[in-house]
Symmetry: C2
Subunit: 492 residues, 2 copies
Amino acid sequence: MERAVDCGLFKGPFSVTFVIPLLNDGEPLSRQIYLWFRKAILRGDMKSDERLPSTREFAEHLNVSRTVVVLAYEQLLAEGFVRGRPGSGTYVTQGLQASRPSSRAGRANVRLSRFARSVAEAAPKIEVPARRATSLRYDFEYGRSDIEQFPFETWRRMLLRHARKAPVRELDYAPAGGSMALREALTAHLRRSRAVVCDPSQVIIVSGSQQALDLIARVLVERGDRVAMENPCYQGAREVLRNIGARLLPVPVDADGLNPASLPERARLAFVTPSHQFPTGAILPLARRLALLDWARRADALVVEDDYDGEFRYEEQPLQSLQGLDTDGRVIYIGTFSRTIFPALRIGYLIVPKSLTAVFTSAKWLCDRHTATLEQETLAEFIASGMYERHLRRVRRRNTSRRKVLLEAIDKYLGDRVQVTGYGAGAHVVLWPDKRIAESAALESAGSRGVGIYGISPYYLTKPARSGFILGFSRMREPDIREGIRRLSQVL
Amino acid sequence: MERAVDCGLFKGPFSVTFVIPLLNDGEPLSRQIYLWFRKAILRGDMKSDERLPSTREFAEHLNVSRTVVVLAYEQLLAEGFVRGRPGSGTYVTQGLQASRPSSRAGRANVRLSRFARSVAEAAPKIEVPARRATSLRYDFEYGRSDIEQFPFETWRRMLLRHARKAPVRELDYAPAGGSMALREALTAHLRRSRAVVCDPSQVIIVSGSQQALDLIARVLVERGDRVAMENPCYQGAREVLRNIGARLLPVPVDADGLNPASLPERARLAFVTPSHQFPTGAILPLARRLALLDWARRADALVVEDDYDGEFRYEEQPLQSLQGLDTDGRVIYIGTFSRTIFPALRIGYLIVPKSLTAVFTSAKWLCDRHTATLEQETLAEFIASGMYERHLRRVRRRNTSRRKVLLEAIDKYLGDRVQVTGYGAGAHVVLWPDKRIAESAALESAGSRGVGIYGISPYYLTKPARSGFILGFSRMREPDIREGIRRLSQVL
């Protein structure tokens, strides 16, 4: 459909041949003419002060309406590519061509910050885990809510009601710390279910717990600062701290979680997951919790409690949060809705000691102002109406029964060959085979049988002593759990 | 409603008197008993190995059902505060009291990072502008969309449709760079309306343009790095860069915007607002845009183009973006929907040179994974369906007519006393009074007449030479604009 017009006639008085291929490709003709001149001028093909053909002549030779050419010239004029001289025509503006290179010599040679270099180096590790190319029938995924189980009808109804009734001010900028309704609902819920002691002013709503980690790292950690980390530990926390330049000090984890006796003498802060150690699943006993707080007092350190799985405890009542035991304002509590509602919501929260509310609120405002309002208001109603706790009870019931099936199947098919940790709480367990088996080989062999399991070694800060496999159960049907473990018995 | 029970009977064999004020305050009785023991144990009022009263005796003396006491003891047991000894009763667990202080001596003595100290210092300046205590009848607010004008019915319909049809995977974690549908819709829109040249892989969806600024600062700027800033400049950019430790080099702004001749010889990057200089409103002419790109090439610097107001140009066609003129991959383009849709949506975007897409995507993933999905999908449809451009045309028409009323009123009431800048584009102008008048006095005097205007001096990096007042017009009715300016004539 090309309609190329060689306007040879204009060759004489001009420095370029006006070959403008007019294409019927959806771009208006005037825009094609405009673009042609723009490029010719910027490239220096048309020089400063060179005259453009008159619109009448040029339209005739292109065989288009004169309006088309006029429109193109007007755009060039408006943008300063050309100047009109009364009674004399249209000329290329002076001084537009400076030193535009045609080679690639001008290509930006970008120097990244240390943070960015560190991020870039770690990129393959920290990028969102790619979906498996072929999805597995028996995938023991972990770390995500069972989306299918979420009461979407109720959620959508609340969402729509809020979208409808939202007063104009709710569409405007909102407080950096988050919706007051959500902070109040959350405070009440966490007091009841996690014995978290706070008032709503200490709650900072963030865009997922990852942002909570990032804010903590930026506000409290300086390059070179010592940070005590459980070993193995949660990658999201490790990457944030590592990229900001913290010196990570691994603290060994045993069947009771982090061992406070092995905490370093000094550290700026400790990052811990007491309710369900990530990833081993150990539950930190009360005595260790108190010892950890004592250590924090002696070391004048802060403790970050990531309570990612605190809502789920089996057989016994959930242990109350570390935050609720703290009397010194040393614990920062992190929570998320990615494991109980759904990850794409991107809402999490920080509960900070009163002395730190102002600086965290300002830091959040500086980073991205505040988290989107509509979801916050919807979530506030979802919690305050009791729907959230009802949903949690339902999830807890289902997880309880899935867990039972899982543990029975492990006992039946793998009982003599593996140790199991992490089944006291949360939504995943870890299998530790007795015999030496390489994680990668086992993962591959399981995959070939349609079973998805996950190696624990990427979570270690040091070379792990043995292989381990993480198996989540919150998204699987019970028969699939049974069959998955049966197949796994051919692998481990 | 207090029902205090002095269980004097238990005084004998125990170290504490069991005075448990049982309140009918909504907390279950068993929880009150639990909390009392927990506190007594943690405070050291009850020592290691001390025996608790039997549930039967204790229930009788509290005059409550035995089940209530049993529940409290079970919780204490589950959490490890007490241990049961078969046939012998319930005892306080050993080693829980370590060194819990009753004084405030243990209070955390938190050391903030340099970033946080800088944030805390600037907090009064960077916190969300508090709403005026009494709202003003004639408030020339700026920097926000006219929310009342937004087609909410359409928006909500799309939102709900997406909430309904969202496949399960849309509730899960999503790509860090954002929804592909949105990036494609945006690429097409920006190519047409702003001559931005990119493919969707270069678009990073962020949570408002503030996050774009923050990511740029973190990825490209090191403490001590030189950054060229327009003077006056946008506070949001200044605060991010200042808090990260950049050395800000002010570049004077005149009636044509930033003067490229005054750019420093060397700088890591320059932050500019060419389509409507913030806050003066100057439009950077083509020759200066090209000179700026030339400077960037010579200085091997990057240029950040914040196109916050690029959609609105009056009388002439909008100047195309700096990004579209760049041939070296030196321009990072920032856009926002806070001024065209509504701020609480929290969606903005970055368009980065191809060489930087990977590191920016990883940095976004590290900071907060990704921006919430539902709004992204809704926005993608809103743009792709043409509703966004239709909405922009409507806003443009209204702004055109409000601007006309504003300029006429200024001419009529203030004509001989002020200069006006910034009326060629955007949604605010700046009034520069001829006579010397202190900004604070004028603001106060205007406020007492029900008129909201905004001083320009907070936006300067250096002491400003003269007073100036920012007047936004995108949220005002035309008669109010007229009356507001009439009243202002008594002030300036």
